[in-house]
Symmetry: C2
Subunit: 104 residues, 2 copies
């Protein structure tokens, strides 16, 4: 897994969620597609989606429960999970998590 | 002030300081120079520098006191302040601050 994205644009303004438990910056690719690079601090959060996304863990470990499911699944560095549009997921972290969120 | 950096690389791994009160991502330019894009949550923090830097506020307001000075100076969006190498500064924020930190 590459440790960086090349030949991209990045927005100066960050995205702050849940009182700063999640902070991300938006990256735009040459084809116009968008990803966010983010950090989640130790917490239990519920994220809602408007569009489908793929969450890729780039460091750390998390437990995730998708909307409508009972099972929690652990994901660690290099793993990813898909979330449908207009859905949500619960995520628990006990250490700092770095992620890339892929859209579209 | 442009709202984004173009034709850059960005590191996937974020930088987390002060238990997450400050989170940044590192941007690398074609000439090899580096900047960080960061968010500071409401807090009173003291940052130390190893190399000289220029802190540019891109949204929000902060009060800053450089090492060895008694005066606090306010900076808001579009303003910047310089910090010497091997020095420090106190910074107070009461709302989310976005910044770009320029090095070298």
């Amino acid at each position: 897994m590459s440790t960086q994205f090349d030949h991209v644009s990045v927005l100066k303004q960050g995205n702050v969620y849940f009182d700063g438990k999640c902070v991300s910056h938006t990256v735009i690719f040459a084809d116009g597609s968008k990803k966010t690079l983010g950090v989640i601090l130790p917490s239990s959060l519920t994220f809602s989606t408007s569009v489908a996304e793929v969450m890729e863990v780039t460091s750390g470990v998390c437990k995730v429960r998708l909307q409508g499911q009972q099972q929690w699944i652990s994901y660690s560095s290099g793993e990813r999970f898909e979330v449908a549009a207009n859905s949500s997921f619960d995520i628990e972290t006990v250490e700092t998590l770095n992620y890339v969120c892929h859209y579209g």
